[in-house]
Symmetry: C2
Subunit: 343 residues, 2 copies
């Protein structure tokens, strides 16, 4: 196909936000899609994954991945369709997952290390699932829980952000391991969802202000594994209920990402000492060579009907800025996905 | 011997302090030493160990050990001499270590679980060493470093409270493991001591206000293991310098024990995430069945001349309150010991 008439719409980072990002922190730009050369592919973006980690990528400074540069296309994972190919690796029509960025087309070498494209099978699961349990959030949850949390059957696992992309999977994987699973989420609707739809044993609505009492009631034997996506007061409160040799998986701290004041450190961290407990960070990329095992396990459970996911799909690349902000005010319900084009 | 004429001098907990303890938080009391019955021994206290943990024992509430009750003799470990025995376990003249309490005589069953008396050999090392490297601080350091910190040869180990009882041993054990060892201590004299006498590679005087620069200079390859005895700002600063997969051993937080405001949590704890690092607590009692291995290893090094310790010995049980407070203002230099009687 000729690509010369295609226009690429892009969101580029315009400024490093202080506190909560605002729409002006990105520029919306357009440019013609260039022709591909040997070894390259052209991918049409269908779905983009909107993740809390994206807030961190907007900051300057050392982290587990380099910051997005000013005027660079905003980094994002996504699912797209190969619409032109001069590579044997992908054929036109293939569905691929990778670092497409917030843009309507991605052009580059089929084996580009940064984009790290790989084929996904739309027959095995609907495409948005590949941005959820079968994608980065799912891999984060699966390996973070099993490798760092190391839950044993009969133990109590607590997960915050329970209705979010990572939390949904953490809870369901823990149920498959034979654990008691208690979620923490904001609002009755999300709590009902993870209990009634996903099979969590209980869920505490932190917005009710009764987190401490909820933990006492629903974790009568204490907390063995806490998978933390939120940080702040919730982390501090859970620290008061942990058991001897508890494992706390530090996956994120969404409550702190837009702080303009310093991060609130866990004042109750000495509970780690009293309980000989452990707090450990997880970054999903460390498990890249084993993603296929996580995908296979969860796809199997999905086919058996014992593993469900929920996506919150917003349509239209022009809605990128305000949709991303939903993550930070609890506005999304399930894995947040931006649909950029029809399949 | 008749014990009926002996007088036991005791410090009993009078009040639960808020913030820094003061002398009025204990009562000084005297009572006649009672005669022992079958199975019991009478121990004359020679040396008492003064430790930061004692501050925590004065607080109400759940911890790794029950609080000292109001009007109970203040808990303390010590070394004493058996002066009367109706037990086959100990003979008159034996030197013993155990939970004697802040009193001049201890009376009880030879196999009392709480006191947990065991014989020490004055021929192998001077008695105060059994409250230092060959006692609880040494065991805390030895097992905390090796089991939780898991240092490997060539790695960089940083320890705070470097001139203190635990810190001295952590650093020297790490040197024996082939690590680069950097201490953090308050004042030039302590820093010179751990470098020149104990063989640390470097020591940073935190009172100079140049901790961050010191870490950059002396840990050019970053920090692999941080053994934290102090908490607060020092913990936060070290967190900015840790390496991938670093291990942070939480042994204590002496900067926070007398807080009347909430404990300062480590604001930089998300460095654990970025670096996939671990923060884990250690309580020495968990390793009780292996103390003999730690004692044997360090006694051997002492005999070889490759392991030294320093004690700061204050004489007179009546000095107990003000001596304990030295721990919290950095007044002691080496393991703080209260000598209660002549050997």
């Amino acid at each position: 196909m000729s690509t010369s008439t295609l226009i690429n719409q892009q969101y580029r980072l315009a400024a490093r936000p202080i506190g909560m990002p605002k729409p002006e922190d990105w520029h919306f730009t357009t440019e013609p899609v260039r022709d591909i050369v040997d070894g390259e592919v052209l991918v049409k973006t269908l779905y983009l994954s909107l993740d809390p980690a994206m807030r961190g990528w907007m900051n300057e400074g050392k982290s587990y991945i380099r910051p997005v540069a000013i005027e660079e296309v905003m980094r994002a994972g996504g699912i797209g369709k190969v619409v032109a190919s001069k590579s044997a690796k992908f054929a036109v029509g293939d569905m691929v997952s990778g670092g497409l960025g917030v843009q309507t087309y991605w052009t580059g070498a089929a084996d580009d290390k940064t984009a790290a494209l790989y084929k996904v099978d739309p027959a095995m699961a609907p495409l948005p699932k590949y941005l959820n349990a079968l994608g980065m959030p799912g891999m984060t949850a699966y390996f973070g829980l099993l490798e760092v949390g190391q839950p044993k059957a009969g133990e109590t696992v607590v997960v915050s952000g329970a209705a979010g992309a990572v939390g949904q999977t953490v809870g369901q994987v823990a149920k498959h391991m034979g654990c008691r699973v208690v979620g923490i989420a904001g609002g009755k609707e999300k709590c009902d969802f993870v209990v009634n739809e996903l099979g969590f044993d209980a869920c505490i609505d932190y917005k009710s202000g009764a987190l401490r009492e909820g933990l006492k009631e629903h974790c009568p034997k204490g907390v063995d594994v806490y998978f933390d996506n939120v940080g702040g007061d919730i982390l501090d409160t859970v620290l008061t209920r942990i058991n001897l040799k508890a494992r706390i998986v530090i996956c994120g701290a969404i409550s702190q990402y837009n702080n303009t004041t310093p991060v609130k450190g866990p004042a109750n961290y000495l509970s780690l000492l009293v309980n000989r407990a452990r707090m450990e960070g997880i970054v999903v990329f460390d498990y890249a060579d084993r993603y296929h095992k996580g995908v296979a396990a969860m796809a199997q459970w999905m086919q058996e009907g014992t593993f469900k996911t929920r996506e919150d799909i917003v349509v239209g690349i022009e809605k990128f800025p305000q949709t991303l902000l939903m993550l930070f005010n609890g506005g999304n319900f399930g894995k947040l996905v931006l649909q950029v084009a029809e399949e």
